[in-house]
């Protein structure tokens, strides 16, 4: 009898607790975000915050929310490439060491070269590239969050 009452209480409680599992609670438009003027991107990486025009976060809708940052750099071929600032190890935001000319994660010391390839440390893959388009002299970047860990890149 008591077990039945307990189950009748526990099952709905567990379902409510699990509501958010596998659910996209925080979302924002997936179109490219205006980042910076193309002529301001050179050989050395620049960090540009990517600001979503609006973010839906559970019950709230907020304008101009910083989603994360992209590191932009013009490669040898003159093309601008973007890397996500999210470290593929545990998700800290990486920095760029000007002296060593490499990306470094402040949390567990993962390092990456200018193209985002893994150099040392605990990350299992290189930095995640982000799609870039150039429109009327402006760099636009699409924000994608990938799952932490693993050698393969899977969208979160």
């Amino acid at each position: 009898m008591g077990g039945g009452v307990g189950a009748a209480l526990l099952v709905p409680a567990a379902r409510l607790v699990g509501h958010a599992v596998g659910r996209v609670v925080v979302s924002s438009p997936t179109d490219p975000i205006d980042a910076i003027a193309a002529d301001q991107v050179g050989d050395l990486p620049v960090r540009v915050p990517l600001v979503a025009a609006s973010v839906r976060d559970a019950y709230a809708s907020t304008a101009n929310v910083v989603l994360g940052a992209a590191w932009l750099r013009r490669g040898q071929d003159g093309q601008i490439a973007a890397l996500s600032s999210v470290c593929p190890h545990k998700g800290c935001a990486i920095g760029f060491a000007e002296g060593a000319k490499r990306y470094e994660c402040p949390c567990h010391s993962a390092t990456f070269d200018l193209d985002g390839n893994r150099l040392s440390g605990p990350a299992e893959r290189g930095l995640d590239p982000l799609p870039v388009v150039i429109e009327r002299g402006r760099v636009k970047v699409t924000w994608v969050r990938y799952q932490n860990g693993g050698a393969d890149r899977k969208p979160a």
């Binding site: 659910r23 559970a58 989603l67 940052a69 545990k90 800290c92 402040p106 567990h108 605990p122 932490n148």
Partner: protein, 571 residues
């Protein structure tokens, strides 16, 4: 009378029997070693009370969390003291729980029949650490945000249901509003209930088995043990408040910024794990999650290894393991702290983030925090829109040695500025570097007016700015000097007519600056001499207006005022 009320109450409540327990002699005697469990409970009550006080002011949402904590820290009466006690109180709880564990182990307190009590004690220690994990993120500052992000990432990458667990706790796919409400509910509702149940069970066990004998005579709890308890509690409270003040309270970093390369570090009691994780490369995930489980498992198994008295070797083995483990944890932690202290780059970043935090808190206190949340505080300073535009659109030509146009700085369109412009229009700070203007045949010559005449001309133009301290007599004197002199060859004061030099109607006023920004090449402004982009299409009306307001403000601003506007965000 008192006795009658006492009788009446006792018949209903039975309080005399409860109070009499304190009078009965307790086997094992009174001892300072026995004060630890009381101190543990006392500190938890401090945490509950200070937590309830903070809850009066705290708001768990991404927009309000950092803002409300900054409010508590910087504006609420005694808010920073209560926060300091709440944060460091939990550290004190961890220390007291650890001491209790060591004292119990020293005296073999885990042996039959106290095994269940030992396990309940371990459970309490586990719950206590969860308080700090769940409490840290509530600040929604850089420190709490990034530390929690990394902690959850470890759980997420664990085998089994780690991913589902993280999504349930953080409330979906990303950190957001639900992360804060979930952790708040865990921290302030769920964990306290679990703690109360465990503590109640622990106390029931303690009553059943009595205290560990100290060898002294049996004593009544009151006053022998109670006085010791309260003396220790009072000393602990004084030490706690003193330490909290010494440590600068609970501290509050800048608002959580998902783009910042912040050096995430855990609370001190997780530092051994952090150190080990960074030392042993490939075993990282196992160490981060497995090691705590192994440690708790081994401690829980101790009663099976050394379950009855009279086997000193086994007791020594347990103690050796405990002390080697503790010494190792302290050793690797100190090494890890020393490594951070020696890292110059890290120290530089830390100082930069500290400066940013101070600025964010000053802005929050001065302007309030905008609805989108803590980060938006950086856009609240005066003239933020104008200064941002200035940096991207204006500074390259109007500031610094590489400029190609007049300096637009503090004192713009002030009397001194107008005078200096009239005296030498081709000076580098005026039009000297604007090639198209100085090299034109119509370039403005130096004024020949001096003395009172120059004063009058300056006052006439200064009056156009809308300044309130104008001398009308001088203005009247200046009018004929302007209209009948060389000025009027190229300029006029009417406003809209085409002319060689700009019309000076409203010079230095918001309307004038707005017109120049929209199209400085208009016939009534710089016309053919113009070399500046027209911003009519590229800027929103509110941006043009913000810029014009800023330029008007420059007239009365000092270089120090301008310096105070500059943002200092850490990269």
């Amino acid at each position: 009378m008192r006795a009658r009320i006492g009788d009446w109450l006792d018949e209903r409540v039975g309080h005399r029997e409860v109070l009499a327990q304190w009078q009965r002699p307790v086997a094992g005697g009174a001892s300072f070693a026995h004060t630890l469990s009381f101190l543990f409970a006392f500190l938890l009550v401090i945490e509950a009370v200070s937590g309830a006080l903070l809850a009066l002011y705290y708001a768990p949402s991404t927009g309000a969390a950092w803002a409300s904590v900054a409010y508590i820290e910087d504006q609420v009466t005694l808010g920073s003291v209560v926060r300091g006690v709440h944060r460091w109180g939990m550290s004190a709880v961890v220390i007291v729980a650890g001491l209790h564990l060591v004292v119990t182990a020293l005296r073999g307190g885990y042996r039959r029949p106290r095994e269940v009590q030992w396990w309940l004690g371990l459970g309490l220690i586990g719950v206590v650490t969860l308080y700090s994990v769940s409490g840290f993120v509530l600040r929604w500052d850089q420190y709490g945000y990034w530390a929690t992000k990394v902690e959850l990432a470890y759980v997420n990458d664990a085998p089994g249901p780690g991913r589902q667990l993280v999504q349930a706790v953080q409330g979906g796919n990303e950190f957001g509003n639900l992360t804060l409400t979930h952790f708040y509910a865990l921290h302030a509702v769920v964990l306290p209930i679990v703690t109360l149940l465990l503590a109640w069970a622990f106390r029931a066990q303690a009553r059943r088995h009595g205290v560990l004998p100290t060898g002294g005579p049996a004593r009544a709890a009151w006053p022998y043990q109670s006085v010791r308890n309260w003396v220790v509690a009072a000393l602990a409270l004084i030490a706690l408040v003193a330490w909290s003040q010494h440590a600068g309270g609970a501290g509050l970093d800048g608002p959580a910024d998902p783009t910042a390369a912040y050096d995430a570090r855990p609370q001190w009691y997780f530092r051994p794990l952090f150190a080990l994780v960074n030392t042993f490369g490939s075993l990282r995930t196992f160490i981060a999650l497995g090691l705590p489980l192994v440690v708790f498992g081994v401690l829980a198994a101790v009663p099976f290894f050394d379950g009855r008295p009279g086997r000193p070797r086994r007791h020594y083995a347990v103690l050796a393991m405990l002390f080697v483990g503790l010494a190792g944890a302290i050793g690797v932690s100190m090494q890890s702290y020393a490594k951070d202290d020696d890292d110059q780059e890290l120290q530089r970043r830390t100082h930069r983030f500290a400066r940013e935090a101070a600025r964010a808190r000053t802005l929050a206190k001065t302007h309030g925090v905008p609805a989108p949340g803590g980060l938006a505080v950086f856009t609240t300073p005066r003239f933020y829109v104008a200064r941002t535009l200035w940096a991207s659109e204006c500074a390259s030509c109007h500031e610094g040695d590489d400029r190609k146009a007049p300096v637009l700085g503090p004192g713009l369109a002030s009397r001194a500025h107008i005078r200096s412009l009239l005296v030498d229009p081709s000076a580098p700070e005026h039009y000297g570097l604007a090639k198209k203007i100085v090299e034109d045949e119509n370039a403005m010559p130096k004024t020949e007016a001096t003395g009172d005449d120059l004063d009058a001309l300056v006052e006439l133009i200064y009056a156009e700015t809308g300044a309130t301290d104008v001398d009308p007599a001088k203005v009247e004197k200046g009018k004929p000097l302007f209209d009948d002199g060389p000025c009027a060859d190229c300029h006029n004061r009417a406003g809209t007519d085409a002319s060689t030099g700009p019309n000076l109607a409203g010079y230095g006023s918001r309307r004038f600056y707005e017109a120049v920004l929209r199209d400085s090449g208009a016939p009534n402004l710089f016309g053919k001499l113009d070399d500046m982009p027209a911003y009519d299409d590229d800027l929103e009306p509110n941006q043009i207006r913000a810029m014009a307001d800023y330029l008007v403000w420059l007239r009365t601003a000092t270089p120090a005022d301008l310096e105070a506007l500059k943002p200092s965000r850490a990269p």
